[in-house]
Symmetry: C2
Amino acid sequence: MPTILIVDDEDDIRELIAVNLMREENYKLLEAKDGLEALDLSKNKKPDLIILDLMLPEMDGVKVYKKLRDDVRTESIPVIMLTARGRLEEKIAGLEMGADDYMPKPFSPKELMLRVRNLLRRSNPNHGGNLIESGPFSLDKSALKLHLEGEEIELTATEFKLLLSLIESPGITQERGDLLRKVWGYSDMIQTRTLDTHIKRLREKLGGFGEAIETVRGVGYRFSEA
Amino acid sequence: MPTILIVDDEDDIRELIAVNLMREENYKLLEAKDGLEALDLSKNKKPDLIILDLMLPEMDGVKVYKKLRDDVRTESIPVIMLTARGRLEEKIAGLEMGADDYMPKPFSPKELMLRVRNLLRRSNPNHGGNLIESGPFSLDKSALKLHLEGEEIELTATEFKLLLSLIESPGITQERGDLLRKVWGYSDMIQTRTLDTHIKRLREKLGGFGEAIETVRGVGYRFSEA
DNA sequence: TGAATCCGTGACAGTTTTGTCACTGCTATA
DNA sequence: TATAGCAGTGACAAAACTGTCACGGATTCA
């Protein structure tokens, strides 16, 4: 759950952004009205992303940005700059400073969402090693959940381990004994129907994508990325 | 569960190794009596580690080793060479060829175990991104288990997610709301005793190490690596 | 085609997990 | 020291999870 810091002196703009961010994703928000507050929050709460209006009272956005970049605690946080349309010099200044992205005002909330999502993905690839992806499948090892085409699918602990075992070796047939060992810790006991039952439950939860788990008769199962 | 290929023409040595490997760890074993069989198995079953006796009928171990290294499918598999004591020329030849380790015969099973474990750890660091370690804690994201000072501790799905959340930000205090969001997906509902109860259960399972989860009164909890 | 295997499936009961609650104990502050 | 707020704890019932089994369908091979 990434934390996003919104820095703008206009209440309604902060509100607009906040509402749109909260709608689609599970973000945590921080807000700041001026540069000093922004710098303070950035150091103490360390957001994953900053949305920074360049027009600020007291200390302008460019100054804030430079101060952020000068501190080891904040230098790597990606920043999206908000700038009034047509103020080209600001835009150029922003890009030259190495800003990660900028948005001219007035902006489309949808577009902002997309940029936020992209930047977060870029700066935090793989969700800290907790995401394993294969085709449309995205397994979250920290939440024990599966994301499949935008849908979030709850898995039980056993289902999760089983799917992870399969998905970690795409295209490779895993013998029944292997899977029983990996998931259940069984050392022998091949003559059990437990594996089949759990495969069935998994396939059910995967809906149409259940076919990604292929049966290899007499051997075991294989995950094939679509 | 790593696969280990034992290559030796003497039945009793293979047996000796097998028995010792199986005793302490959860390895899967393959066995080969001669060089041809070894090469065949290496390509088709792809072991994570090979224990190779240099004295083999037909094709000697050095030749087998060279062939392994010449094939992209097997070149990165670590090899432990077994060599008769005092045959210094073999020892040197082995090391020069880039062998990963060697053991003079007769060898101590215990020592062999240690070398196996070390090599596997070295060649497969982090268990493929599934291990997260902090002090004596080692969380296995694929098995949903905790290893603590050699002991294996079973965790429920909720306990696992909670401990992972804490352990991923060592030293950082996480607010009650944050943890509730991360682990349970609650968006508000701070006034619940659920978190406390699960913290208690976790601490119990951690035994003496339960103190690693510190209470920050009025705020939340913090994991501190010992 | 027929026999033998192997796999898919639905039902079910035992077990484990889970969240809640009431109560107790602790800590900070005045 | 008194008080209020917060955290720890044990018990409990509901819910979820899990493994097993019997049966039926599918596949392989002779």
